[in-house]
């Protein structure tokens, strides 16, 4: 099977190691990975901040770049939710504004083919044991868009439980938002920081070495708060844990 990796602009620029982990993991599972070089950004930051019209060309570009692939895999719950949940809505809004079906028709092909990484592993490949080895105590934070937007449910935990050497501990208040929320972190920085601090304190109470999530934006916020609060915990993307093996550990 051949899939396109949609790495997202944040991962590409700031967290290339997540992308390398996804490539390593999928290749190990026999999937052929392509990275279309013309990809940029799904437009979520624009859309969610109120710039829907600025997000439209980015969504169209996304469809142009990825439309021809059988499946599109992304290691980001929120960018995945953007394509799956909000692209159809953008099409509807354009229609309601009297601009016809063009946008909806352009975006439609990518919507059902876009998968968040853990969803792709469990639902499409049908694996929960990806043969990983990661000898650490880990707690899992289900990010809001993965949890409520995509309904990832137990998939990430199933994958983590099958990792050899890994001890999974439950995070108190797991379902509560970490306070990132894109531009929310800038516009309401006090509230955002308070939410982040509570999330980190909850994570700390588990005694885990690592907090993992399926979205680097949330991990950036949580991780930045962790170092500031000197917790000694590390934020790690789930892809890096799943890619790790005894021969080639990621960390």
């Amino acid at each position: 099977m051949r899939v396109a990796l949609f790495l997202t602009c944040v991962n590409d620029t700031l967290y290339p190691e997540t992308g390398r982990a996804v490539v390593k993991l999928l290749t190990r599972l026999g999937v052929e990975v392509d990275f279309p070089m013309a990809q940029t950004c799904c437009g979520q930051a624009h859309y969610n901040t109120g710039y829907r019209h600025e997000a439209e060309p980015l969504a169209r570009h996304f469809s142009d770049v990825f439309g021809k692939y059988e499946a599109i895999v992304t290691p980001s719950g929120s960018c995945g939710a953007m394509v799956r949940e909000l692209y159809p809505r953008m099409g509807e809004r354009a229609r309601a504004e009297g601009r016809g079906d063009t946008l909806a028709a352009t975006l439609a092909p990518v919507v059902p083919k876009t998968y968040e990484l853990t969803e792709f592993l469990v639902d499409v490949l049908g694996v929960t044991d990806v043969g990983a080895y990661y000898p650490h105590t880990v707690t899992y934070h289900p990010t809001c868009h993965g949890l409520r937007g995509l309904g990832l449910g137990e998939r990430p935990r199933q994958l983590l439980r099958a990792v050899r050497g890994l001890e999974l501990v439950e995070l108190p208040g797991a379902d509560e938002c970490c306070g990132f929320g894109g531009t929310f972190a800038l516009k309401n920085s006090d509230v955002s920081a308070a939410m982040g601090a509570d999330k980190v304190r909850n994570a700390e109470s588990t005694g885990a070495e690592v907090l993992c999530a399926a979205d680097n934006s949330c991990l950036m916020h949580i991780g930045g708060t962790m170092t500031r609060l000197r917790t000694g915990m590390r934020p790690v993307h789930i892809a890096e844990i799943l890619a790790s093996t005894e021969e080639e550990p990621t960390a």
Binding site: P16, T40, R148, S189, G224, T225
Partner: protein, 495 residues
């Protein structure tokens, strides 16, 4: 102005103080977490919750779609039952009508059962200006009124107060308003409740005029419904000679049978009870039973304009259960007052800027008072997609667009203060539309990465004040990919 993003408005400023107030945060955290857990249990008990939620949504949508018809039907049924219907386009008109009705009775005081509609229009203050004193009789409202405070929660308006604070308010203020608090009052719940009961009982027995809101109005029968927990509302509704109910026009349901759905979803969502302790219904007037005169003031105050908005109108489905407040992580930290209206929390963030327009600083800031985590949508018993409406209203704030105000279609200009942000969004769109430009930017950033500070100036300052920024990697992913073709290619060949 603190160092926040451009267009720095009122909500963040108000929230700043609340976040720093440790007592407030502890009170809110305790209260919301307790009720949150209870609600989840109460909802989990019902096997057909998803169906009930869908039914509630549909009934409300249907009613809103035919609101004109149902309002006329309601007026006919209320009139036939001996009530008198008044129409109020805005707050001023509603206040004028109510003050006039009270004056006609020759009275100068009224008792009130908790009503958000009358708070929305500032009725108590308007009556005060006419020399009429309004006494709140809901326990939490009483605390707010005595404390010269503002409500901060839909259901528990004094949620921000703890027992110690309440005892202090009672001891200090009750004598100003009527029967004083007993000597040596402590802060045990039983004593506080007793003090309130005695204080209120005196008012119920004296009052000739009652003012209420309503949770529902049934079009086919002209019946109004109030659900409450304390029974004080029932006394307000039955003891006075004249009853004046002020209700938002969106509170209609077509038939008596429709109540079946909401009387299940409302209590479980709000107080986590299977059934609320008191459900009072009243239809016009009846000889020898209850008030002899009944007035219904139907309040628009921005609701028709809200109804004209395809995306935003779903906010009118709200049954004011407050479940969205109790799960909202932003409400939990910022407190209800930061929302600058009687409708706090997620629902307030979408309702107030629609009812009042986005002209003021606070109203333009409310659509941003959310991280879009979606917890509010998940719990809402009438499935209002609050995040969807928030984003829709953000668009209105930053880009302007067509809206209906006072019945007229107008095109809004973008709100002030978003110029720099708009420019940044355009620039980002430009770069993201050109993979080459994005790549050049990434490379430049990587090459100069040792020079990048871990704290930011300007708009990013607030972020880096409480969090460290990630270090920039030596090489963006796309360069690694091209260099190695995903780890399988020849290192160093591609350029």
């Amino acid at each position: 102005m603190s160092g926040t993003f451009v267009g720095m408005p009122a909500f963040p400023k108000a929230a700043h103080e609340a976040v720093g107030n440790q007592t407030l945060r502890a009170n809110l955290r305790h209260a919301t977490h307790t009720i949150r857990a209870k609600r989840a249990n109460a909802v989990a008990e019902v096997s057909d919750w998803a169906e009930l939620r869908e039914a509630g949504k549909r009934i409300k949508d249907h009613t809103l779609r035919h609101l004109d018809r149902y309002l006329v039907q309601l007026e006919e049924s209320v009139t036939a039952a001996g009530g008198i219907v008044h129409w109020a386009a805005d707050a001023d008109e509603a206040n004028r009508i109510v003050a006039g009705l009270v004056k006609e009775t020759g009275e100068s005081e009224v008792v009130k059962v908790k009503s958000m509609a009358t708070q929305e229009i500032g009725l108590n203050e308007a009556l005060e200006a006419e020399g009429i004193r309004a006494y709140e009789t809901d326990l939490a409202e009483l605390i707010v009124q005595l404390g010269k405070d503002r409500p901060s929660h839909i259901l528990v308006p004094a949620i921000h107060r703890n027992r110690g604070e309440i005892r202090e308010i009672f001891a200090r203020e009750m004598s100003e308003w009527g029967r004083p608090a007993p000597e040596g009052l402590t802060d045990t719940p039983a004593e506080l409740a007793d003090a309130a009961r005695l204080h209120l009982r005196e008012k119920f027995l004296r009052a000739k005029v009652g003012v209420s809101g309503a949770n529902f109005m049934v079009a086919e029968t002209g019946t109004l419904v109030v659900v409450e927990s304390e029974g004080n509302g029932r006394m307000c509704l039955t003891l006075p000679e004249t009853l004046i109910s002020v209700v938002g026009i969106e509170k209609i349901v077509p038939t008596w049978r429709d109540l079946e759905v909401f009387l299940q979803t409302l209590p479980r969502s709000s107080t986590a009870e299977r059934m609320n302790p008191y459900t009072s219904t009243w239809t016009g007037t009846t000889d020898g039973d209850g008030p002899r005169t009944f007035h219904l003031v139907l309040l628009d105050n921005g609701r028709t304009d809200t109804l004209a908005d395809e995306v935003g109108r779903q906010a009118l489905r709200c049954i004011r259960c407050s479940a969205c407040l109790n799960v909202c992580p932003v409400y939990e930290r910022a407190g209800g007052h930061a929302y600058g209206s009687v409708y706090p929390g997620p629902i307030g963030a979408i309702l107030s800027p629609q009812l009042r327009g986005t002209g003021s600083e606070i109203d333009a800031s409310l659509p941003y008072a959310s991280s879009l985590c979606g917890a509010c949508y998940e719990v809402c018993p009438v499935a209002i997609d609050i995040p969807e409406v928030l984003v829709h209203l953000r668009e209105r704030v930053v880009q302007g667009g067509p809206v209906t105000r006072e019945g007229n279609k107008v095109v809004l200009k973008p709100a002030k203060g978003h110029g720099a942000e708009r420019a940044a969004m355009r620039a980002a769109r430009w770069a993201f539309s050109r993979p080459g430009a994005l790549r050049a930017g990434q490379r430049l950033a990587s090459r100069t990465r040792r020079l990048h500070p871990r704290t930011l100036p300007g708009p990013g300052k607030a972020w880096s004040a409480s969090r460290d920024l990630p270090a920039l990697p030596a090489e963006p992913f796309r360069d690694w990919w091209q260099r190695t073709n995903g780890g399988t290619g020849d290192e160093g060949t591609a350029k």
